[in-house]
Symmetry: C2
Subunit: 233 residues, 2 copies
């Protein structure tokens, strides 16, 4: 198998959001992630191996500083409807950092949260840094772009609670947490937007311990603590 200059150029272009959006394609790299892509049910358009295309071509198509031995071009799943589903779900309101986004998806996967909703201004879900930080969880969690205030309203109309984390909410450790519902996490700097906060019916806080001078927890750490608290028995 060989690769043409035009193909190299096309795959390289998938490092940019506008080309990922125009084509509906994204890139994953590394044996483990490529295998997970193949096992995921997503359409894998192409798999390229270093021993087939050579080091130089691999270095050109790779988005990593140390190119992996294998890279796959994968088609994004069809967008899912932003409707409430059962079980415990997560909604992300304006998460901007790709490392946080990938880590949160990995945390959701660990704690058995099968659907993660993301507001339209979140970092793009198929950004290569999101994929790397998710450690394959991007292929196991259902990711849905959603209008979060409308979604939250529909969760409540369906009889489920909408939880959100705030700096001035009620002690997370003392609340009765339901096994179904929506947990909203907010932007790194500004937290949950007022129009989303208006749809939250249980405002939660992770209490700081002792004379802590820290003003907040990183959003991924806060997501981990919150989901742990929902899942612990």
């Amino acid at each position: 198998m060989s690769i043409t200059q035009a193909e190299i150029k096309q795959i390289r272009s998938l490092g940019e959001k506008k080309f990922r959006e125009a084509t509906g394609l994204f890139v994953v790299e590394g044996e483990k992630l490529v295998q997970e892509a193949l096992d995921s049910g997503l359409k894998v358009v192409r798999v390229l191996r270093r021993e087939e295309i050579g080091d130089a071509a691999m270095a050109r198509i790779s988005q990593l500083s140390s190119p992996s031995p294998v890279l796959a071009v994968v088609a994004r799943p069809e967008p899912a409807a932003d409707e409430p589903v059962g079980g415990l779900c997560l909604a992300l309101d304006g998460i901007r950092d790709p490392g946080n986004m990938g880590t949160i998806i990995r945390i959701a996967d660990w704690f058995g949260v099968e659907t993660v909703y993301a507001s339209g201004d979140c970092v793009e879900l198929y950004n290569p840094k999101v994929i790397q930080a998710s450690m394959g969880s991007i292929f196991r969690v259902r990711l849905v772009t959603a209008d979060i205030p409308a979604l939250a309203r529909r969760f409540r109309e369906a009889g489920m609670r909408v939880y959100g984390t705030f700096l001035d909410g009620k002690d997370l450790y003392r609340e009765q947490l339901q096994p179904e519902g929506l947990v909203v996490m907010g932007n790194e700097a500004n937290g949950i937007r007022p129009e989303v906060a208006a749809e939250v019916d249980a405002r939660l806080t992770i209490p700081a311990f002792g004379k802590s001078g820290a003003e907040s927890l990183n959003v991924a750490a806060a997501t981990a603590v919150t989901l742990s608290e929902f899942r612990r028995r």
Copy 2:
């Protein structure tokens, strides 16, 4: 106030670990971090403001892509002895990623862990990315470079428990966790080293929920869940 070319060059050099180690100095940027440095009791060697030195000089001494209006050169604290102290402490065995390190220091601060021990092969604690990710917690938590196996042995000799997180430990949610002791977190890829694991007397696991396919949690997320569990009432 003005700044000479030689001074610009010297401050720029603090972007490199070898110059930080040779001089014992590090750089912090941004109004909030500089204020926290000034409040911390550490020796602040110099504070440089954009309005005093000009945009061009600020851009040259800054380590950020968008230079802050203010930058401080700070002297590291004197190294502390790696001895057990009371309360709940954290020990980091080979944390390599500066974002994880800074986030873990911020988490320790939130949960009232006053001393964090780091093995000699952890990422350098005064790396600019560690400082930024710590969000000022680097000035509030006592950071001690330590020989972790020897330290863990001395915690146990002092009658305190040494906890560690492993993929095959006991359910974190069901263990009796003591308010004093040492919690060890391991390297991002390899976990806790065997020579450290040999000194751990309570092996803990954060249980995954349901049919999760995730193989592990990010170490900062795992630290947050573990410390939350020690501190929840």
